[in-house]
Structures are given as C-alpha cells and as structure tokens.
C-alpha cells in the first residue's frame, strides 16, 4: 500500500493488455501466413523476416529518439504486428529492400511521426503499401502463381536467397497477373467479363488461395478463419466486417445485375485481391477506425463502397488500400458527429423527454 502515489480506482482489472491484444491478432494471422509460406516458398519467408525485422529496428530507433521506454513498447507487439501485416500485403517474391523500405515508411512516417502507438491517423501498413505501390509500381505488381514449397518448380533455400536478396532476374519470366489485374486489362481490351472469368476464375481455388497475389492475401477462407477467431476472442466487433462486406456485396451485386458483361459478381469481389484479408485485419485496426458502433458501420460501408468504385472505375485494379486510407481520413469527422447515445439523453445530447418515458410505463 502506498500513500505517496495515490491512484483512483477501480482496483480490479480484466487482465486485458495491449500485448495480449496484439498477440491474439498475430495468432489469427498465423493460418494465412503459414499458407503463404507454403504457397510461395523460401523467398516469401525471407521477405517476411526482413520486413518484420526492419519494423522492429525502426520502432526501436524511433522510440529511442523520442525518449520513450524502448523495451516496454517493443514488447507491446504493435511494431511487429505492423511489419507482419505489411509483409502479408507484399508480392511474395519482391526484393528484400521493398520490405525494408516499406517497414521504415510504415513505422517512421505513418506511425511514430504521428506520436507512436495509438496516435496515427492512417493505417501504417496501408500507408506503406500505397507508398510502395506508387513508388515502385514494377516491383509491387509482379505477382506470381503458386509455387508450393514442396513442388519441384519451387526455388530451394539457396535460390530463394538469390531471388529475395540478389535481384534475381528469373522473376520477370514467371510473373502472372492477379485476377483483378487480368479483369482490368481484359475489360480494357474490350473483352466481355464472362469470357475473362471462364478462362481465369476458379472459385474453389480463389477461396482456398491457389491464385497469384500477395503473400498473405490469396486465401479468403483462411482470412475468414482468422477473422472469426478475432470475433470470438472479442478483439474485433462485427460492425466493420459486416458493413464492409455488405456494402461491397450490395454495390457489386447491383452493378452485376444491371450489366453482367462488365461488372464482376459480388463473389468475385469478395474472394479476390486483398478484400477478405483487409476486412478482418486492416479495416478493423483500432487506432484508425471510429470509436462508436454506428461510426464503425459507416466506416466499414465507406471502405466497401470506395473499394468497389476504385476497382471498377479507377486506374488501379485493387483499391482496398486507397479506400481504407481515404476512410481513415474521415474518422475524426465520424467520431465528432457519430457518438453513442448517452444514458438519459437523446442522440443530440439533450435530456430525454420525461413524458415519453412515462408513456412507456402505461403498458
């Protein structure tokens, strides 16, 4: 018992902690991550390690510069998680410096420059991904089809090193476009959607993840499993995922219904690109999402809508990252105007009307 430093209650605690939260998110990420490793082989493992290591180093450096307790904050796991999430969104055979530069951007520019944990306006992983995409469009759009680590075609330990660290030219030879990229190109050529999909879309493969794409994003089903785990452990709430999926399904469904030759069905949208992954792991990021349940629904619906718009009409085939960043920017506004209703008050903040409540009693 200490008399000098009195603190107010409560003196019971649920036992929740920042590191526990971050740890559970990492657990939820494991299936997607391991699948990515198997799918894309040694180069993806190297890139993952480089990205996470760079994130930790950048975090430590920034904390030291800012004069904050380095160990405490490194152990909270937020830096590692940022690096991890970023790695999940990178093309699996990208050169090592893509991961390293990305981590520096995510941690230094997007997170610590805003004041560190909890202060950033934009999702660090998405900032890094966007900056990388704009800065290094070539490296950031070189996807490749699955090369399972056990298959004969996959690069072994040493050749993996060469691909990640040596700028190995072989990557150019085997790249293939992601589904969304293919759709965009082919539609641009005047092809009809049904034909494009007949050639390059296999729902089962897309759901499981046997498709070209980023390291951790190809498998919709594993993202869903991770997401359900997060929901079950109450790390995230249903609001953002449901709103995001709902908005995307509604819009793409409507467009597809009106013109199936040019607008992909909701199913294609939901399982392709980074959508499923972002629904559960990126859009639900605490720091950059609104605080109230209704605000979260608006935020999620906004991300879904913008993603559909960008995917359909803008220059980039995939728009989740942009959509999330744009909606991140609206969060302060949402939080200003959308608040939970205070007990005993109307949504506007005036005390509720006495007469109305007395009417309730008449029942």
């Amino acid at each position: 018992m200490s008399d000098v430093n009195i603190t107010a209650g409560p003196f019971s605690h649920s036992g929740a902690s920042v590191s526990r939260t971050m740890g559970l998110v990492m657990v939820a990420l494991l299936p997607s991550t391991l699948f990515g490793f198997v799918q894309f082989g040694w180069p993806s493992i190297y890139l993952f390690l480089v990205t996470v290591a760079a994130a930790i180093l950048a975090e430590a450096l920034c904390l030291k510069l800012a004069g904050k307790p380095v160990k405490l904050h490194l152990l909270d796991g937020s830096g590692i998680l940022t690096g991890w999430l970023l790695a999940m969104t990178l093309p699996p055979w990208a050169p090592w410096w893509i991961g390293a530069v990305g981590s520096l951007i995510a941690i230094m520019l997007a997170k610590q420059a805003f004041g560190g944990l909890g202060q950033n306006v934009f999702n660090p992983a998405m900032v890094a991904r966007t900056v990388l995409l704009i800065s290094f469009p070539i490296q950031m759009t070189q996807f490749l089809g699955p090369q399972p680590i056990y298959s004969g075609a996959a690069p072994d330990f040493i050749r993996g090193l060469a691909i990640t660290f040596g700028g190995h030219p072989e990557i150019d030879a085997i790249t293939s476009a992601s589904l969304l990229g293919t759709i965009k190109t082919e539609l641009g050529r005047g092809e009809v959607l049904q034909q494009i999909l007949a050639q390059s879309f296999d729902l089962k493969n897309m759901v499981i993840g046997f498709a070209p794409g980023s390291m951790g994003e190809t498998s919709a089903i594993l993202a869903l499993i991770g997401g359900l785990f997060l929901l079950a452990t109450r790390i995230i709430t249903w609001h953002i995922p449901v709103a995001m999926i709902g908005a995307m399904s509604a819009l793409s469904g409507l467009a597809h219904f009106l013109d199936p030759a040019h607008f992909a069905s909701p199913l294609v949208h939901l399982v392709s690109g980074t959508f499923a992954f972002a629904v559960f792991f990126i859009a639900t990021d605490y720091v950059t999402a609104p605080g109230s349940p209704l605000g979260k629904i608006i935020f999620g619906a906004g991300v879904g809508t913008l993603t559909f718009i960008i995917r359909t009409w803008a220059a980039y085939p995939e728009g989740v990252a942009f959509a999330i960043l744009l909606m991140n920017a609206t969060v302060p506004l949402i939080d200003t105007y959308i608040k939970p209703r205070i007990y005993g008050r109307t949504r506007k903040g005036d005390p509720i009307n006495l007469k109305e409540t007395s009417k309730g009693e008449a029942r």
């Binding site: 530069v101 900056v131 800065s135 290094f136």
Partner: protein, 231 residues
Amino acid sequence: MTKSYREITLEGLWTNTILFSQTLALCPMLAVTGTATNGLGLGLATTAVLVASGLLISLLRNFIEPEIRIPAYVLIIAGLVTIVDLYMNAYLHDLYKILGLFIPLIVTNCAILGRAESFASKARILPSVLDGLMMGVGFTLALVLLGAVREIVGSGTLFSGASLLLGPAFSFLEVTVIPDYPGFLIFILPPGGFIMLSLILVGKRMIDNQFEKARKARQDETDLIGGHITI
C-alpha cells in the same frame, strides 16, 4: 521597424525562413522541388519578385491607404510577375520552358504578400529590399535543398537539367548520384514534397534545439560568473 540589417539577414536565412519557419509557399514547393534545378529556378524568380515588390511597396507605402493595401499589393505583385513572365519568355526562353508553368504560381505565393504586409509596408526602402533579398535567398536555398534531397532519393540524380537553366557551362553540376537507381517515385511526386519537408523541419528543429541548449549553457555560465554580457 527597428530591426538591424544583421537581424533581417538572419531572419531571412534561418530563423524566419519562408518555407521552414513560416511554412508558406507550400503550393509551389510541392510542384517544383522534384529536382534541385527546378527549385533553384523558381527560387531565383521568386527572389527577383520579392526584391522588386519590397522596393516598390516600401517606396509607395505612404500612398497606400490601409483600406486598399491588399488590392494594391496584389496588383503590384501580379504586375511584377507578369512582367517577369513576359520578359523571361522573350529573352530567357529555355529557362522559361522549364519554369514557365511555375512563374504564375508566384502570384499566389502568399509569402510575397506576407512580406509586403508584415515588412515592406512598414519599413524604409533599404531594409525592405534587403528583407526581400534575404527572404528570397533563404527560400531559394530551401527549395534547392528540398529539391536536391527529393531528386537524390527519388531518382538518384542531382541538378539534372542544370545546363538548361544556367547554361552549358554548368553541366558539371549534373551528377548521377546512384547509378541504376530504380527510382523512389513518391518523392518526386507532390506527396514526397510534404514528407521531405517534414523531415527537414525535424532536422531544423533539432539544430535549433542544440543552439538553444548551447545558448542556455552560455547564459548559465555568465550568470554564474555574475557578468552582464548580453548575447
């Protein structure tokens, strides 16, 4: 206005620079500092307008009633910029081809109106001209610094196109700093301007803090001795 020439110089070049202290003129900064050369060009043109507008406004300050000062200043600045634009097009055509797009931007450069309002309208001619010159030089140096950093990080070169701006004699300035650089596009694009500006601001703040610390230390020392030396 009782600022000494030394103070005016110091303010323009370091303590109150347009870009790093007043953080004005961000629009042209974003647009032109993709390369050091472009930064230098716009900086020089802005300096010319700053000096000329300082001179004119200081000269005319007693005729410009406070009520009409803003339109009058805008008129003077816009007129000057138009004249610079015309003569550059006619006689410095190669330079104009690079900077032509940015010259009209100078009109909207609030830093110039800001100096007119806060300095030239209250000061005598010589200090006003000096203020314009120093603010301009400070601005130019800042643009060159930003441009250089963005150019190196963004495309791996330095002062590319300098010979076009300054003449073939200056082609030695054009350096490829990092050969076979893949290019870091965002730093050439406008967002990179913001990012770099923020990083440079951090650097300047750190240097200022060091100065302040040193000054404080000196002060403490003199306090300790009991001397009355003012720094």
